[in-house]
């Protein structure tokens, strides 16, 4: 499982970084999106992988920490997901406004000179 999880992070991050290096704003926003998946999974993985151990306490089993997955990275990632959405929205609007003002969707706000 771990190896698949790690490779998944790698593929998401690699695709995201490739898109961050592209010249169009839409590519950039998709890249950010993919990269944030990868980063969220990575942070989540810092609590190590467990199956069937959701951090919802079962009163019958008691509150032994060994029985449950680490809740701290989960709490961090939960807020990160929501903030990620807000950032995407803000970036999208800035992108649209920049395209309206500059007349281009190039990340530099102007078309590069053709060589």
């Amino acid at each position: 499982m771990e190896i698949v999880f790690a490779l998944a992070i790698g593929v998401l991050a690699g695709s995201g970084i490739y898109l961050l290096l592209r010249p169009r704003t839409f590519q950039f926003i998709m890249g950010l999106s993919l990269l944030s998946y990868a980063v969220n999974l990575f942070i989540f993985g810092m609590g190590r992988l467990r199956t069937g151990a959701a951090p919802v306490i079962d009163p019958a089993r008691g509150a032994d920490p060994a029985l449950y997955a680490d809740p701290v990275p989960q709490a961090l990632v939960l807020t990160a997901i929501v903030i990620g959405f807000a950032v995407t929205a803000l970036f999208l609007v800035v992108l649209l406004a920049a395209r309206g003002l500059a007349g281009t969707d190039h990340v530099d706000g102007r078309e590069p000179e053709r060589e």
């Binding site: 995201g16 999106s33 939960l78 649209l96 309206g100 990340v107």
Partner: protein, 965 residues
């Protein structure tokens, strides 16, 4: 009690500055009264502290601020600080009175008085600081206030340039001083002034002593405009004259010598001190005195003479003798009185005649006899005429040069240089008075000269009276205070001295006589009929030109470095970022090794592997398609998000899975709404890719691939190592007993780390408002304005959704009727589900975030199916109110706890039985989560609807007036 008074001295000027800033811009009298009362009040409080200071030695106030870092707010007043504080506040009072009449009614005075009082506060802060770092902070603040005041008339280029130069020089000096102070504190083991003063031997023996000395000297010499940093002061004369009188002669430029005197007991006594401090002082004394003789501007003469006199003080401090220190402190006070009154006279002349040019002014003593008399006495004090205060301290200076404890040639050279400087001083004083006030009356002045109002003369007159009093009966007027000041600096080593006017026929007296006669002769021979405006011998050496060349060099060097090291292109910057990160990580991995851990891994589930074969393919497809097939890319990104969400389910994170799923939906809708405004991009119409784009893509693929592999390796290396029991056990164990909830993640979010969540939802609200605000001014590109091709074709085929036109119909007609019925049925259901998630969140997966997103999705579904006009004709949602109500609810939940005496956001729970309803558990946490819920609904709907509304704007006839205000 004294602590209270210290705090008052410290606080009053800043409070006054704040008040002054908010008065109307033409309230000249109100401003002057306010500033005058603040300055006078401060002066009186300081004066009243004298008995205590002289009896106890030191009065202190310590307020712990960050004690773990050794940072306290510390005020400390000893005799020396008292003298200086009185000088600052008393001079401030006089300058305020003077400025009231000097400033023109058209000048915006709030800015002036506000910065003047802020400067006064900062200067008092420097003087009274008992903590070295605190002192440096106030030191920099005086530089800033000086910058703002020099540039007060910011429409004038010379004012702007002078302000910039002053700030650059003194600010850079302040940074050097900061470094020196950090070293001092490091050596002494504390930044407390008393502790540092006690560590004298330790500091002088330390190998870093030369560095400390150099850095402190840089700070002090730049501030006091000493050679070779003196050039900024003449350019600072572009400031209004009250500022020049106050900051640039009486107080701020004295901060440098104040600091040197303050640190004299621990830094002085070495050869290095003598050469650095004494050398700079001597050069300034002679050079600036020489230059002062040739200035054409009255304020220019005064500026150079200020440098020269500060040089005299610096030289005294550099002589390594206790008596010289006494003379320096004495001269600080004397110079402030006569120089400020001369500046005021120069300002009066400028104010009444419209010019300060020595070549044009002449014979003003007939029209302005009182001004002339006051200026003449003050100038005589500056020249060192007997029975005036300048004579006394200058006499002490001459005596010190003779009894210097140095090798022979220096003992001969120094008195000669001192006498020469005395000659210059007499010559420029004489020239200033004689050319302005005597000779034939000037004819072509801009205004007809006349005596100014008495109130404008009063401050100057008081200062001149002080000059005379100190000059005639020094022991009675200032003897006590001076002794308290020097005792504070020197402690038990303070030497005995007498302040008598007559010491008999001594060598210093001879030097004074030579200076007076020589100076008069020099003026009579060389200047009385001189018309040239150049400076002989030193014309070529101009500090400003060197400074300008240096600044140009630094600027072009920085530009060159930016061109070489960086790029304006974002792609190149991103590339550098990733390349550096990759390189750094590779270096660490190669040198330290990364290696896999030994934690037993989970058995591989083929379904999970299949999930990520799909997820990974989706991610790669996004990268592949994002340029030409945006819709496909959005869909693929959704696929990758879905795989992520399923992974969370798989690996025991139900809350994350729910959140990811709902966020995925809103993000996709959001991006789909934005697609319409992007330029059309088509593979078929794009130019043919050459080799260079292909190579660039290959390079990017390699970098991105390497980064991805690296992150994967990093993740795997961590995942195979045993977990660390950090905070997890605490949260798991404390969740039920302390948080009252079973869902640990939710308890962390709304209870243990509630403050973080509060901050986070605030950010969310701010982002939503920003999106809203940006879109109100949104101007789409012209080519995006007409209807999209697809809508046009649909309209041509006759199956455009008519709902967009007729908002009044019960249901959208046509193709969308059936989905609309379903969506309307769905809305109440979705509301129920979202409330269900909200309420159960504390004990089972769910919570405010998920619930809010579910409701927002349901609302946006109505918009998508029915169209904006149709929805808004029936359903009025006020997302802004939701945001406000959400924030308020969360804040109320927090403040409620604070009112009950517990820390902010402490949860309160009530568990009990109600008739009819049964067992009930109520908690303030629920109110907090309700706030989160409402804010998430409001923010999400606001953003989505704001973007959706843009499509109405392009067809104005269809827009709904008043919708979404």
């Amino acid at each position: 009690m004294a602590a209270m008074e210290l705090a008052l001295i410290f606080f009053l000027p800043f409070a006054g500055s704040l008040c002054a800033a908010f008065l109307p811009s033409n309230a000249r009298n109100a401003e002057a009264w306010l500033a005058g009362f603040v300055a006078l009040g401060t002066t009186l409080v300081i004066a009243a502290l004298y008995p205590q200071v002289s009896a106890e030695g030191v009065v202190r106030l310590n307020v712990p601020w960050a004690p773990a870092l050794g940072l306290d707010i510390s005020l400390r007043m000893d005799g020396f600080a008292w003298l200086f504080a009185l000088l600052v506040s008393g001079m401030g009072t006089l300058v305020v009175v003077y400025a009231r009449y000097y400033m023109s009614p058209t000048d915006p005075v709030p800015r002036f008085f506000s910065f003047l009082l802020a400067f006064m506060g900062a200067m008092l802060g420097v003087v009274l600081s008992g903590h070295l770092i605190q002192m440096v902070m106030f030191w920099e603040m005086t530089s800033l206030a000086s910058f703002m005041l020099i540039a007060y008339w910011h429409h004038r280029a010379d004012a702007r340039r002078g302000a910039r130069m002053a700030l650059t020089v003194t600010g850079a000096g302040g940074l050097a001083l900061f470094g020196g102070v950090l070293l001092l504190g490091h050596i002494a083991g504390s930044y407390d002034l008393d502790a540092v003063l006690a560590a004298s031997a330790q500091i002088q023996a330390h190998p870093w002593y030369p560095a400390v000395l150099a850095l402190v000297a840089l700070g002090a010499l730049t501030k006091s405009a000493q050679f070779p940093f003196h050039f900024w002061l003449p350019h600072a004369m572009a400031a209004p004259t009250p500022v020049s009188a106050y900051l640039h002669s009486a107080t701020m430029v004295k901060a440098g010598v104040f600091l040197l005197a303050r640190l004299w007991p621990i830094l002085a006594g070495t050869d290095a001190w003598f050469w650095i401090i004494g050398g700079a002082g001597l050069c300034s004394l002679v050079l600036a005195g020489y230059l002062a003789m040739f200035q054409q501007d009255m304020k220019g003469v005064l500026a150079y003479s200020t440098i020269s006199h500060l040089g005299l003080i610096t030289l005294l401090l550099g002589m390594n003798s206790e008596l010289a220190l006494v003379a320096a402190v004495f001269h600080i006070a004397n110079h402030a009185t006569f120089k400020a009154s001369l500046f005021m006279a120069a300002g009066i002349v400028d104010h009444e005649t419209g010019t300060r040019d020595l070549g044009r002014l002449s014979g003003l003593s007939r029209a302005m006899p009182i001004t002339a008399a006051l200026a003449a006495v003050a100038a005589a004090a500056m020249a060192g005429v007997p029975l005036l205060n300048g004579f006394l301290s200058k006499e002490m200076f001459f005596a010190e040069t003779i009894f210097l404890d140095r090798p022979d040639w220096q003992r001969i050279a120094l008195p000669l240089a001192a006498t020469l400087a005395g000659v210059f001083s007499v010559a420029y004083s004489l020239r200033l008075i004689h050319q302005v006030f005597f000779g034939p009356p000037a004819r072509d002045l801009p205004h007809v000269p006349q005596e100014p109002t008495r109130w404008m003369l009063l401050p100057s007159a008081l200062l001149v009276a002080a000059c005379v009093l100190v000059g005639v009966i020094p022991e009675h007027v200032i003897g006590d205070y001076l002794r308290t000041a020097t005792d504070a600096l020197l402690g038990a080593d303070a030497p005995a001295y007498s302040l008598a006017v007559w010491h008999g026929f001594t060598t210093p007296l001879l030097m004074s006589v030579v200076a007076l006669c020589g100076g008069s002769l020099l003026y009579a021979v060389a200047f009385a009929r001189r018309r040239a405006t150049t400076v002989p011998l030193l014309e070529a050496i101009d500090g400003r030109r060197i400074f300008d060349a240096l600044m140009t060099g630094v600027t072009s060097g920085a530009e060159w470095a930016m061109r070489r090291l960086s790029s304006h292109r974002l792609q190149m910057q991103m590339m550098l970022l990733f390349a550096v990160a990759l390189g750094g990580a590779a270096l660490l991995a190669l040198s330290g090794g990364i290696g896999w851990g030994t934690r037993p891994t989970l058995p591989l589930d083929p379904a999970f592997a299949l999930l990520w074969v799909i997820g990974g393919t989706c991610a790669l497809a996004v990268a592949w398609q994002a340029k030409y097939h945006r819709l496909a890319a959005v869909a693929f990104a959704g696929g990758a998000g879905l795989a992520t969400s399923l992974t969370f389910v798989w690996l025991s994170a139900p809350d994350l899975a729910l959140t990811q799923l709902t966020v995925e939906v809103v993000t996709t809708v959001l991006i789909l709404l934005g697609l319409r405004w992007l330029p059309r991009r088509d593979e078929r119409i794009a130019g043919r890719g050459g080799t260079s784009p292909r190579l660039r893509r290959l390079r990017d693929v390699l970098v991105a691939g390497a980064c991805g592999l690296g992150i994967a390796a990093l993740a795997y290396a961590v995942l195979t190592r045993p977990g660390v029991d950090g905070l997890a056990p605490f949260f798991v164990q404390a969740s039920l007993p302390q948080g009252g909830g079973l869902n640990v993640v939710n308890v962390i979010l709304v209870d243990f780390r509630g403050f973080d969540t509060f901050g986070e939802i605030t950010v969310l609200g701010i982002v939503a408002l920003t999106v809203f605000a940006l879109l109100r001014r949104f101007r789409p590109a012209p080519e995006s304005m007409p209807l999209p091709r697809q809508q046009r074709e649909q309209a041509a085929a006759g199956d455009a959704p008519p709902s967009r036109v007729h908002g009044g119909e019960l249901l959208p007609a046509g193709l969308m009727m059936l989905p609309a019925v379903l969506a309307r049925l769905l809305l109440p259901l979705a509301m129920l589900v979202s409330l269900f998630f909200l309420l159960r969140g504390h004990n089972a997966p769910g919570g405010g975030f998920v619930g809010g997103l579910v409701l927002a999705t349901a609302v946006i579904l109505q918009y998508m199916v029915g169209g904006t006009a149709w929805v808004e004709s029936r359903l009025r949602i006020h997302p802004l109110y939701w945001i406000a109500a959400g924030l308020l609810a969360a804040a109320v939940a927090g403040i409620g706890a604070a009112l009950a005496g517990a820390p902010f956001l402490t949860s309160k729970a009530w568990h009990g039985e109600l008739p009819w309803i049964g067992e009930l558990h109520l908690s303030s946490v629920l109110v907090f989560d309700l706030g989160v819920y409402m804010l998430v609904v409001g923010a999400t709907v606001l953003m989505l609807v704001a973007i959706a509304h843009q499509s109405l704007r392009s067809h104005p006839h269809k827009s709904v007036p008043g919708a979404l205000r």
